[in-house]
């Protein structure tokens, strides 16, 4: 049960997590998850909102492909990904990744790798808007290094 949603609407990560947990295989004793929020401050300035651009059709397909790839690599079949696009207010959730598995190591590894790949390989473009104006955010050298660690 791999589920990927790209959505403009605000969502409750906890409600989605509860639904995912309720649908999981009852042999899956481990559920690792990650929620990424729009922060209210960046390195140097206040953030009022985030704007996430995507490529309709292509983005959905790429995130689905990435999710299935990570699931197959770690032997986990239960993954939920929800990723917002459009305008996101400070404090709101941008992304939820949840992985259920019989084994906690696989659940953690898959959730972390999926987040690392979303940061560098998923077709999204984002900018922070604050009192100082807008600023495009691109992956850091550290983000690319983390992604590289997952390559064989």
């Amino acid at each position: 049960m791999i589920s990927v949603a790209i959505t403009r609407a605000a969502f409750s990560p906890e409600a989605e997590l509860a639904g995912f947990a309720a649908r999981r295989d009852t042999g899956s004793g481990a559920l690792a998850s990650f929620i990424g929020y729009c922060r209210n401050k960046s390195a140097d300035s206040a953030v009022e909102q985030l704007e996430l651009d995507h490529y309709p059709g292509f983005t959905e397909r790429e995130v689905e492909r990435m999710t299935h790839g990570v699931g197959a690599k770690h032997g986990v079949g239960e993954i939920l990904v929800i990723h917002r696009v459009g305008t996101i207010a400070a404090g709101e959730a941008i992304v939820l990744v949840a992985v259920a598995s019989a084994h906690r190591a696989a659940a953690f590894a898959a959730a972390e790798e999926l987040m690392d790949r979303l940061k560098t390989d998923a077709p999204f473009w984002k900018r922070e808007l604050g009192p100082a104006g807008a600023r495009w955010i691109e992956p850091t050298a550290q983000d690319y290094a983390r992604r590289e660690e997952h390559e064989e």
Partner: protein, 84 residues
């Protein structure tokens, strides 16, 4: 007719997110297309020549600047991807 799309900061530079264009016959590759767009808009042309900008032809990201764009329905220009 080919749809040209610009994402992220390229959309700001281009002033639009997408436009339908009849590509001239001498625009055969991604490199040709970058140069051809640059003839019309030098700033956008400069932005497109940046090494980190990748082209995506008919939903396939290309790392080869000599890849063909002949008959392509959609060509997107993408700054570095960053979700999450």
């Amino acid at each position: 007719m080919t749809r040209i799309l610009f994402f992220g900061r390229l959309r700001d530079v281009a002033g639009h997110g997408e436009r339908d264009i009849d590509l001239p016959d001498d625009v055969a590759t991604i490199a040709d297309l970058r140069a051809w767009i640059g003839r019309d808009d030098a700033v956008l042309g400069d932005a497109l020549r940046c090494r980190s900008i990748r082209a995506c032809v008919n939903h396939v990201i290309s790392i080869d600047d000599n890849a063909s764009v002949k008959g392509a329905e959609e060509i997107a220009f993408m700054p570095p991807l960053s979700g999450g």
